[in-house]
Assembly symmetry: C2
Homo-oligomer: 342 residues x 2
DNA sequence: CTGAAAGCGCTTACAG
DNA sequence: CTGAAAGCGCTTACAG
């Protein structure tokens, strides 16, 4: 209704500030320069006026001129997945420490969405990408596009097997978890993985298989399942495992959500955890310690992962390291593992 | 080491495409126009060449010229908080449906960080803000800055009491939860809230108090606690509640994390849920259904909230509605409530 | 439909 | 230290 518009619709520009301060646009720009601000009374006046008016430079104009944005594009599967949110927040912090800003996009692990939303970031001319969505099946058109266009990127948490990657040693982590179960006397141990294209799940499985083999334990096919990383997938697989003629006495899962699902299935079926079923999770999310049976889990150092991913991305000195950077996972022992019932 | 750089360092520009197609920059621009692409053989050729080369227009340059970005700034406390991640993902979807893109920033509920990171979004000249971090204590310099500069915004989930807001009817939700407990025969019911400045927590408490009063039940001060929205806060308050001389038989919490914490404290103390302690949570996050005792919780319609927030923001037709838009919460009954033990 | 021209808001050699 | 000028990559009246 009101035709009067008391608020300024248009944001202040550098020209406005310069005029207010009675200097040229160039002088104003230099006075407000982040890295090498000019000294002198005129410059002080510019800064004072800018602060008074809450002047915020137009980043788009500045970046266009500078030919760099200081923006890192982050691609995640979904932010409602706690580990993804944790890695993203870690990247934000690490990026800020290096003078960069992060812009995120989620793909639901759908290559089409990845391409569509990744391009939105490409349009913003981010200086590089950190991808948490790498696949080993090659079905990632967005990654191909980045490679074709020579856009710097690094992979974190998951790898496609070739790109520069910041990972935890998932094989070692899988071994840690599995040996912990073996040491408690378990011989029939199941593995519950995530999607087949996720290297994290593959390597945790490889660590599991190696530990089983070293202990001389068989890994029959009915003990290994793959699905996605959700709680409901855990419930599902958990029920199938408990319906087996020879029910396993322990389960190692590729993440905590799967473990929570398995634990739920067990408790619903009246199977005591850890009395009748021991469980070890992975990623050690905050809720793990607060479950009815606190979950033993493999801790992932998110800050180190994020730091490595950014170092890899920003190094970009012509040649990238072929081998991934590996952080060490560690086992956090809580209450979800006991000796097998006999 | 390698001095040859086979990949193009610089992204293709419209000029490149125009040259390749043998047309003027203007013609190329119009051929690639999203809304009203020009027809004709030359335009077809431009589009083909652009597609072949994976040309992605520089959004910064385009936005600078257009004087709008199509970007919505979203401010959340932290993405590792599941309800926050859910509201953000919902805003992304709703924004996309309206032709907008979302850019997010997290503040840790720290007004200083909010100002600092909010300005990053301001520098990007987002067309408006959706804020989940409103406070009733007025301690939000960033919101003041938005108001001073006349930048459109809407509040979601929480309100400061004055700004345009998309909320659930938290008073009603608090009543739903509390009456559910009363109907099961509880008389000594505790409330566990979040931070004092969060209207969501205040209103859920108000609903609780009203329901208690209507049932003629007293609310002694030792039954009402405030902290933050974390699991650990729930554990803490849960322990204090269980240490009371006259332990409550039921607890209503302002979110699911607090409920999970209270449940953990109870189970650790050997207090059966719901046998000895009934619990009702709020926001109905995915894990609620998969806890050892599936949690009865008040469901929040995130999609509706996000839609309302964007409508409010984008309407911006001079005058904004004074009253907040309210969505209806609903009670999801699961297994965490039973009649009080006698 | 087409092209030439102007301009969005900045930064940065250039010359003083 | 200062200002005048050029230009980043686009879009959009303007004239044909």
């Amino acid at each position: 209704m009101s035709t009067d518009d008391p608020k300024p619709r248009r944001a202040l520009t550098l020209n406005d500030i310069a005029a207010l301060a009675g200097v040229s646009r160039s002088a104003a720009s230099r006075a407000l320069d982040r890295k090498a601000p000019v000294k002198g009374p005129k410059a002080d006046r510019v800064r004072q006026i800018a602060a008074e008016h809450g002047y915020v430079p137009n980043a788009w104009a500045a970046n266009l001129r500078r030919q760099r944005t200081g923006l890192i594009g982050v691609v995640v599967s979904r932010l409602t997945d706690t580990p993804m949110a944790m890695i993203y927040e870690a990247v934000v912090e690490q990026a800020a420490a290096r003078g960069y800003q992060a812009a995120v996009v989620s793909t639901d692990d759908d290559p089409r969405k990845a391409l569509e939303r990744g391009r939105l970031l490409l349009a913003q001319r981010v200086d590089g990408f950190v991808l948490t969505t790498a696949r080993t099946d090659g079905a990632d058109p967005f990654l191909l596009e980045l490679q074709e266009q020579g856009v710097p990127y690094s992979l974190v948490m998951r790898t496609d097997g070739t790109g520069p990657a910041a990972l935890t040693d998932d094989v070692a982590g899988g071994g840690l978890a599995t040996r912990h179960l073996i040491e408690h006397g378990h011989r029939r141990i199941a593995y519950v993985g995530g999607p087949l294209y996720a290297s994290s799940s593959q390597n945790r499985e490889a660590g599991y298989r190696r530990a089983m083999e070293e202990a001389g334990l068989p890994v029959p096919p009915e003990l290994v399942h793959h699905s996605d990383f959700s709680i409901d997938a855990g419930v599902d697989v958990g029920r199938r495992l408990l319906a087996l003629a020879d029910v396993p006495t322990a389960v190692f899962t590729a993440n905590d959500s799967l473990a929570i699902g398995v634990m739920f299935a067990a408790q619903r079926a009246g199977v005591d955890v850890p009395g009748r079923l021991s469980i070890v999770g992975y990623t050690d999310t905050p809720i793990a310690a607060r479950l009815s049976v606190p979950l033993t889990s493999v801790n992932v150092p998110f800050d180190a992962l994020a730091a490595d991913a950014l170092d890899l991305l920003l190094a970009d000195g012509g040649d990238r390291p072929a081998a991934p950077r590996l952080s060490d996972p560690s086992l956090v022992v809580r209450d979800s593992v006991a000796a097998p019932h006999r």
